[in-house]
């Protein structure tokens, strides 16, 4: 079938087109009181992006996100590596890490608000809480999954302990660590937006929350679209880098002539 070939040739594009078609159909079913069709949403978003005030909200969210991400990555790496070096501590703390992953962190939100008050610090804290756990978990797993043979081989080459960590352990663990950072990226974004939904007077999350209250379908849809686009693009880019790390040099090798 023709459609099959198109799908195989351009999977991502086909997927996006399918989504747009479904979106349009749902709009026809549900009506303009609940949804905006794709074209109108893009138009409205474009208009928003031309206002300085919208960019003010974007930069607010963006700043909080970047800081939260930095904290997540640094704290997550530090935790994961520290536990990765020490078998006993790793065993002791692993269930705590896993528990931290499966707990609905939004339940902690009031505590964060009480500690940090309303504003940027609360948002950053909430984003960081969401992001640090996967980074730590993946980094720990990465250290544990380094093939023993690589460490054995390196030990026959007179490396200092520090050199061993820097030139063998870390490069070997990097693909899995990067996967953790990729997931931490997405979750930090989600956490930051969630944080903004209550504890803030600015930012995309705040916009979303007010739009819900005012039943402003256009704003709801445009902001959602923006968030989805940013998250999806970032994730795809990171995913490509992830694949490149796991497969250095590609799958086939061309002999030089």
């Amino acid at each position: 079938m023709m459609m099959r070939r198109i799908i195989y040739a351009h999977p991502a594009l086909s997927f996006v087109v399918t989504l747009l078609v479904l979106w349009q159909i749902v709009y026809w079913l549900v009506g303009p009181n609940a949804l905006l069709p794709p074209v109108e949403t893009v138009v409205y978003l474009a208009r928003l992006l031309q206002t300085a005030r919208f960019w003010g909200h974007i930069s607010e969210t963006g700043t909080a996100f970047v800081v939260a991400l930095a904290i997540s990555v640094v704290a997550g790496l530090a935790t994961g590596l520290a536990l990765g070096m020490n078998r006993t501590m790793a065993e002791v703390f692993e269930p705590f890490l896993l528990a931290g992953n499966s707990v609905p962190k939004i339940a902690l939100y009031p505590i964060v608000l009480l500690i940090f008050g309303i504003g940027m610090p609360a948002k950053i804290a909430f984003g960081a809480i969401h992001g640090v756990v996967p980074v730590a978990i993946f980094t720990l797993a990465a250290c544990n999954n380094v093939p023993r043979i690589l460490l054995r081989a390196a030990s026959t080459m007179q490396l200092t302990r520090w050199d061993m960590i820097r030139s063998v352990l870390l490069p070997a663990a990097l693909p899995d660590i990067f996967s953790g950072i990729r997931i931490g990226f997405s979750l930090t974004l989600i956490g930051t937006i969630l944080g903004e939904m209550f504890g803030s007077q600015r930012g995309l999350g705040y916009l979303l929350m007010t739009a819900i209250g005012l039943h402003n379908v256009q704003v709801i849809m445009s902001v959602t679209l923006l968030l989805v686009l940013v998250a999806a693009t970032a994730n795809t880019v990171l995913l490509q880098q992830d694949r490149r790390l796991r497969n250095p040099g590609g799958t086939s090798f061309q002999k030089p002539d």
Binding site: A12, F15, A34, F96, S102, I111, L114, L227, A232
Partner: protein, 249 residues
């Protein structure tokens, strides 16, 4: 055994420290009451029964989201597994799905479905179903192709094939999928209740926060945390038990 000891220390040392700091008012009671008070409050909340309705509502919604996610997830996973074009089409979805803030769709659901239970269950379902689908696909992938052919040669019926060929391979993956679905359903439903809802534990916490009612809020938070941790730990334990039995047997 040393490990268990360290874990106990890791839990009780910070708690004791917190207790001391709270009692000495280094940490103001308006921000964080002492852990002992939180625990007593938890006991009171449970004994009181005033929040039983909320607890039941939340657990019911979570349960519904889980059941829907597992059933739809396995069915969809099986269907997608059979159709290569469908699978290729949906692949981008699976790799990007959990990066997307699903909560952003919550307002849409409220607008479409109104302020009942549906939006919460739907969010929980949406978060959980994709991990179930992905796990089902992984499980079905793990069945060696040669066994499918063997089953056909032996003329096993569909039910028998699933029972004796597919399930032994797919079962661990399905179990992982269910574990993830349960965790996500909790996160989704309680988060949605918190953001905008009139019932359920999430709402009660929000209400207590708005009214500066720490004596209710903290015990409820603690309750949710304990339920989530208990459910996930017992699932993990079960998973490990099944796995080791599989390895030995």
């Amino acid at each position: 055994m040393r490990i268990v000891f360290y874990r106990l220390v890791a839990v009780f040392l910070p708690l004791t420290l917190l207790e001391i700091l709270c009692r000495e008012h280094v940490i103001k009671p308006l921000i964080l009451p002492p852990p002992s008070r939180m625990l007593l409050g938890l006991w009171a909340v449970i004994a009181n029964g005033a929040f039983n309705a909320a607890i039941v509502k939340t657990l019911a919604n979570v349960g519904l989201a889980i059941v829907l996610a597992v059933v739809v997830g396995i069915a969809a996973g099986a269907a997608i597994h059979r159709s290569r074009p469908l699978r290729t089409l949906l692949e981008p979805l699976f790799s990007t799905y959990y990066a997307i803030p699903i909560y952003a769709f919550y307002p849409l659901f409220i607008v479409v479905f109104g302020l009942g239970d549906t939006p919460q269950v739907l969010i929980g379902f949406m978060l959980a179903v994709v991990s179930m689908i992905v796990s089902t696909l992984a499980g079905l992938d793990s069945v060696p192709a040669v066994l499918g052919k063997t089953a056909r040669v032996m003329q096993l019926g569909a039910v028998e094939t699933v029972r004796s060929v597919t399930m032994p391979y797919a079962a661990p993956y399905l179990f992982t999928g269910v574990k993830l679905a349960i965790a996500y359903a909790f996160i989704g439903v309680i988060g949605a209740e918190f953001i905008m809802s009139g019932t359920g534990l999430g709402y009660e916490i929000r209400f207590a926060y708005d009214n500066l009612d720490n004596d209710v809020m903290y015990p409820l938070i603690l309750l949710i945390l304990l339920i989530a941790v208990a459910v996930n730990m017992s699932l993990d334990h079960w998973d490990r038990a099944l796995r080791s039995r599989r390895e030995r047997g």
